[in-house]
């Protein structure tokens, strides 16, 4: 939970408007937990003030290199996509509470379900689960073939089912249409994506244990501004802050 300057070592479009950015620097060594995010500044002189929360997608500790995957959608991420190798980014993080692979109960099988730009953190999570001997299966969804990414890399970690809304790759439909065959009472569910998707996942996986990663528009990213609250019934206050209590919550803990 510190501020770092990391140097861009690559920044390439790997699918339609999807960029893979690698960043290098000593700050990387604290980035051990999947599901945590980096709060990325667009640049000191930019008229875009607020930082962008981006999940850790992978870390190479030997090279001191973190990988981020992001979609160039709005002004800020479009500006990020124009950055050149060698430029430095001002980054806070890792922030939040991630998927705590070591301290949470594990099961033999893990089903990792992600949609669109919610997919990236599942890669780092899947890698760590596999290292711990868990049998990982991925169900990842995209809008269309041209938006899909990392399918091969996921396949190297475990069985990977792909869905696309338009049917141009894998099964036509949503991730929730494709997850059933891979679920069993032994499965631990991990899911990242928009709230509507998480809600559907929660319903499909009723009765199973799991973790969900939420997203919301953020101000501070560190729990001070109350921009990112989400209602919960399990806490006296009635809410959690996604940036600092989450973004990862136990399934059922928050009201989606």
């Amino acid at each position: 939970m510190r501020k770092h300057e990391l140097t861009i070592t690559s920044n390439d479009e790997i699918a339609h408007r999807i960029y893979e950015m690698k960043l290098n620097g000593p700050g990387v060594k604290g980035m051990t937990t999947p599901g945590k995010f980096l709060h990325v500044s667009i640049g000191k002189h930019s008229s875009k003030l607020l930082r962008r929360p981006i999940s850790i997608c992978d870390v190479d500790f030997e090279k001191e290199e973190v990988t981020l995957l992001y979609r160039a959608h709005g002004d800020g991420t479009i500006q990020l996509s124009q950055k050149q190798n060698g430029e430095r980014l001002d980054i806070l993080g890792p922030l939040g509470n991630g998927f705590s692979v070591e301290t949470t109960p594990k099961k033999k099988n893990a089903l990792l379900v992600g949609g669109g730009i919610g997919v990236p953190p599942l890669y780092y999570l899947g890698k760590q689960l596999k290292d711990q001997g868990v049998n990982v299966t991925f169900v990842i969804g995209f809008h269309s073939r041209k938006d899909s990414f990392y399918v091969e890399k996921f396949s190297e970690l475990g069985e990977t089912a792909v869905t696309t809304v338009d049917g141009t790759l894998g099964t036509k439909g949503f991730v929730t249409d494709a997850m059933e065959p891979f679920m069993c009472t032994e499965s631990m569910i991990y899911s990242v994506g928009p709230a509507v998707m998480l809600k559907a996942v929660e319903q499909k996986a009723a009765g199973l244990d799991g973790y969900l990663s939420l997203e919301e528009r953020m101000g501070c990213g560190i729990g001070a501004c109350f921009a990112c609250v989400c209602p919960t019934e399990s806490k006296e206050s009635g809410y959690v802050k996604i940036c600092s209590d989450g973004p990862v919550f136990k399934m059922g803990e928050v009201v989606l």
Binding site: L49, R217, C220, I222, C225, F226, A227, S237, G238, Y239
Partner: protein, 312 residues
């Protein structure tokens, strides 16, 4: 560091910098980033009588050099703030300015009574200018008779000096400032946010669930400077200036306009270390302009005007 020392009613500050209300929680989170005792003071998040959940999300949206927020005064209520939040600030030995909000005069009065009695609270800041709650302040903030009445009643019960936080969404801020000064305010805080809105061009719908929100950040600094300049010439109570301050240079500008201390809001989100970084840089800037003590800055702008272009 005595060259940065400023003293305002109830607020004896070793430097003029304090975080603005709502942008620093109750200090706990930023205390993980740096030692809060370097601050000149701290403004805590608005307290209401009962706890409030605030507005639905999304609660923030980004604009050019600014942001909109519609948090909606989320807070656990004054009792819990007194029990669970304020005590955490004791070790830092810095003045605490407690921001107070409410829907009715009675609520403001009751919250003031309770919070101003806490020994760690140095002064209260009456938030009569929150644009993000339907019932909650803004009606006091735009009608100067209501603002004056409220100030008078709150002054009667407050055990600590009272700062009134003014809304910039008015035709005549000077009139408002004079009204609350006459009603007994010990100081002014200005400015709160401008009411703004952002739509998603693709859908045409507001980004904020609350539709409108409060505009803060560097975008509004020129409005803040103008208002502080105009008001400071017409009142004799001190002003805590705020609105878009992000650098030590901005602090000099705002104090020159007439502020006696400066609060930093949105910039904390951009850089969590912004307050200590500003504080550290101030002496260097004073050296550059050959000034001994920071208080000499206050109100420099009202001195006679010379064309600055030929100064190169």
């Amino acid at each position: 560091m005595s060259r940065l020392h400023v003293s305002l009613p109830g607020l004896n500050m070793k430097n003029p910098i304090l975080p603005a209300s709502g942008c620093f929680g109750f200090g706990k989170e930023y205390a993980k980033w740096y030692d809060l005792s370097v601050l000149g003071g701290i403004t805590i998040k608005a307290a209401t009588l009962e706890g409030r959940f605030g507005n639905p999300t999304p609660r923030v949206a980004e604009t050019e050099s600014g942001m909109l927020n519609a948090i909606g005064l989320q807070n656990p209520g004054v009792t819990k703030i007194l029990e669970n939040e304020i005590p955490h600030l004791e070790p830092y030995h810095i003045p605490i300015l407690a921001n107070i909000a409410g829907s009715t005069e009675e609520e403001y009065i009751e919250v003031t009574k309770q919070i101003s009695a806490h020994p760690l609270v140095s002064a209260v800041e009456l938030n009569i200018s929150c644009p993000n709650v339907k019932e909650g302040g803004i009606q006091f903030g735009t009608h100067y008779q209501s603002a004056a009445d409220l100030t008078r009643k709150v002054k009667e019960v407050s055990e600590k000096p009272v700062y009134v936080k003014l809304s910039p969404n008015v035709s005549d801020i000077v009139e408002m400032a004079i009204a609350v000064e006459d009603a007994g305010a010990d100081g002014l805080s200005m400015i709160n946010t401008l009411v703004g809105m952002k739509l998603d061009w693709r859908t045409g719908l507001p980004i904020l669930a609350n539709k409108t929100g409060g505009l803060s950040g560097p975008a509004i600094k020129p409005v803040a400077i103008r208002m502080i300049y105009e008001v400071s010439k017409r009142v004799s109570i001190p002003i805590i200036g705020m609105g878009g301050v992000a650098t030590a240079e901005d602090v000099l500008e705002m104090m020159s306009a007439g502020a006696s201390a400066v609060a930093v809001g949105t910039a904390n989100f951009v850089n969590p270390y912004v307050c200590p970084e500003i504080i550290e840089k101030l002496p260097e800037l004073l050296d550059q302009i050959g000034m001994e003590h920071i208080s000499e800055l206050i109100g420099r702008s009202t001195k006679e005007w010379k064309t600055p272009l030929s100064s190169r």
